[in-house]
Symmetry: C2
Subunit: 408 residues, 2 copies
């Protein structure tokens, strides 16, 4: 498997487009289209929030029904959440317009993604015009994929795309993806949207199984602010154009596909955390020696989710007591006197706490490590063999400024 | 029942003292003593954090053993958490020193409270000198109680004390209390410390029962930052000097005591939330029509705990979508299309969202209501009859500044 240049259009048969429809703001692209020249099997994971945006309800119904899919239409500006029955009708109108513009028979072959303010109404005239412009300008080029990944940004400061290729059954299989997400990020599948397009031939059942397993150690292990969005959506579309023998049972080919998927999702997840609203540093927490895998995940996410740990990293303060405290309230049982806490410096470790009490360390060196763009915290629990890594970001003055102003 | 002037020394037989021991900072009081002239029954609730500070372990052992108690010694500066076996030895040293200075036979009659940085070592020479000074200067005066409530402050901007009196069996019973807490506040049975002193005669069993029930709707329904401290401690000391017939079974007298206790704890809890680090506004969320009491509590706390709701209140932005979102990820099932969200304006209501979708409201008026020092959010779930109220505070630039700098 190798990482290749490109994004959502990297796999065979996938096209993309972007357009400035003027939905909420002027002068920058705010709609994107992903299109496959042939029907795709699709797997999806969606927010666990009880309040589900209309596009989440629309997409989930189609994914569960197993309907083949050919297009995804995404807008920013408004989330189409908190819009009741009207919100769902809007999804249907969008899907019908896209089906018509793309020459598709079934509106259910069009998935919808929205992100932005909850509660506002989509300007349907602009959306309709946008859909027509997207359909007319779609292209199977790297540039079109990159432009689409920029069109779905809200408070993101960087676009996020990745592509990988691997060999399956003598054929080159490609996965290309894009995602957005910067605030209201605490996926418990996040306002994250992620679209992964592959030309692999793989059964619908294994496609969903691979995605559902994957997010437990990728998107579900990132957090920016602890707020689980109403719109979180990850879609994995597979159109089979790679021509590999169909992956229809678990084994080496399935494992290779899952490994490639993991490379895609962890890379995007990590970049979303690092690009959290106002963030100036990515915080990675690696928990080792936990009693079991779920405990390891819960502990790691508790540390990267702690407002006080995030503020300490912003202050370059080696306040390991806050890390120990966040482990302690995660809801996992352990012996505090067994816990070691360190900062990683490349492959070296810089110990802050050993056996639950302060280690003898240089504050100056700690401050230097905490000033980096990527701060890696190691927590060794000495309770078992399980490990997990979670990603978050520091809490900065800009986070507060952005979110005190966001809607207006 | 009536609220009276005073604090921790209001009830008969209770004395207090404060002292500037120079534990971490100079020039302001950092130690406090609460003392009862006769032995007390004591109830306590402590942090649910797996990492429990040494004083929490010390106090919990004594409360569980039922040992009569006569004194509580509290320091700020260091939390005596993350200090391992040495931390417990320090508690014992402090208790022995206090017992000696106060003429008590048993060190276990002395409870300990600490708050401040996790992981630092207490300067025992200064602590010992402080204990002697506290014992020598204790007094049954309102001024001594108020001074003690100031000595336990860390990042608190206001001291917190209250006293109430009621009649039980023809006798006047008094409850006086003080608390501190501003950051690392997410009590699950908070770094909150609260000491409640009453002269009521009440059985040890009912004292604990009253306190354990009370915190579910007082301290456990406040949050500042979602971080559950290693040191949270609430102690309720009863010395029986009011001379009322002992409350030894549930009934009218017990209910009257519980009501008075609730007045004390909710008042302090509300003030702690409003004095959250950097906060300029108290946020109160009243949930009505929830399916059951625990659902109501969980929903209310989710709203006041949402970083995005807190930032929106700081920005005076009527972003009701974030409120609906926070209800949605609380972990409670409900129908989003039944939810009404309003701001309270005294006894009037200002509706933002009706039936899960935007109501027609004036942004200008909403902004005005969100600019007040106390912002009251009403959420009607229409799922049942249960209600609960939780308290938090806005997320401000100063919160981040305080916590990026706190340890240094």
């Amino acid at each position: 498997m190798q990482i290749i240049d490109g994004g959502v259009t990297a796999a065979a048969g996938f096209e993309a487009a972007s357009y400035a429809a003027g939905i909420k703001y002027q002068d920058h692209p705010d709609m994107a289209l992903v299109y496959s020249t042939v029907p795709c099997r699709v797997a999806g994971t969606f927010t666990s929030n009880v309040v589900k945006a209309a596009p989440v309800q629309w997409d989930r119904r189609i994914v569960q029904a197993g309907t083949p899919v050919q297009a995804v239409v995404v807008n920013t500006g408004f989330a189409n959440a908190g819009t009741g029955a009207e919100g769902l009708a809007i999804c249907e109108t969008e899907a019908r317009a896209a089906a018509e513009a793309l020459g598709l028979d079934n509106p259910d072959s069009v998935l919808i993604g929205s992100t932005g303010v909850i509660g506002g109404r989509l300007p349907m005239d602009r959306i309709r015009a946008g859909i027509e412009a997207l359909a007319a300008s779609r292209a199977h080029t790297k540039e079109a994929g990159t432009a689409a990944s920029k069109a779905i940004m809200t408070t993101d400061t960087r676009n996020k795309e990745i592509a990988v290729s691997l060999e399956i059954g003598g054929k080159t299989v490609t996965l290309g993806a894009m995602s957005k997400g910067s605030g209201m990020i605490h996926p418990n599948m996040c306002t994250m949207l992620c679209y992964i397009c592959t030309d692999a031939a793989i059964s619908k059942e294994l496609l969903q199984k691979a995605l559902s397993a994957d997010i437990l150690d990728s998107f579900n292990l990132i957090t920016v602010d602890g707020d689980t969005s109403t719109n979180d959506t990850v879609l994995l579309l597979a159109n089979g154009l790679a021509g590999n023998p169909e992956i229809s049972s678990e084994g080496a080919d399935y494992d290779a596909f899952c490994e490639a998927l993991r490379t895609v999702t962890q890379s995007l997840a990590r970049r979303m955390a690092g690009d959290g609203e106002g963030a100036t540093a990515l915080i990675e927490c690696r928990v080792e020696g936990a009693a079991d895998k779920q405990a390891a995940r819960t502990l790691a996410r508790s540390v990267v989710g702690s407002q006080l740990v995030k503020a300490a990293v912003f202050g370059h303060d080696a306040n390991w007591g806050r890390i120990l405290c966040a482990l302690g309230y995660a809801g996992v049982s352990f012996d505090p006197l067994q816990v070691d806490i360190a900062l990683a410096d490349g492959s070296e470790e810089f110990c802050l706490c050993r056996g639950g009490v302060a280690a003898d360390y240089s504050e100056e060196r700690a401050t230097e490590l905490l000033g980096r763009e990527e701060v890696v915290i190691l927590a060794r629990m000495h309770q078992g063999e399980a490990a997990a890594t979670a990603w978050g970001c520091n809490l900065t003055l800009d986070y507060v400024k952005i979110n005190a102003d966001y809607r207006s």
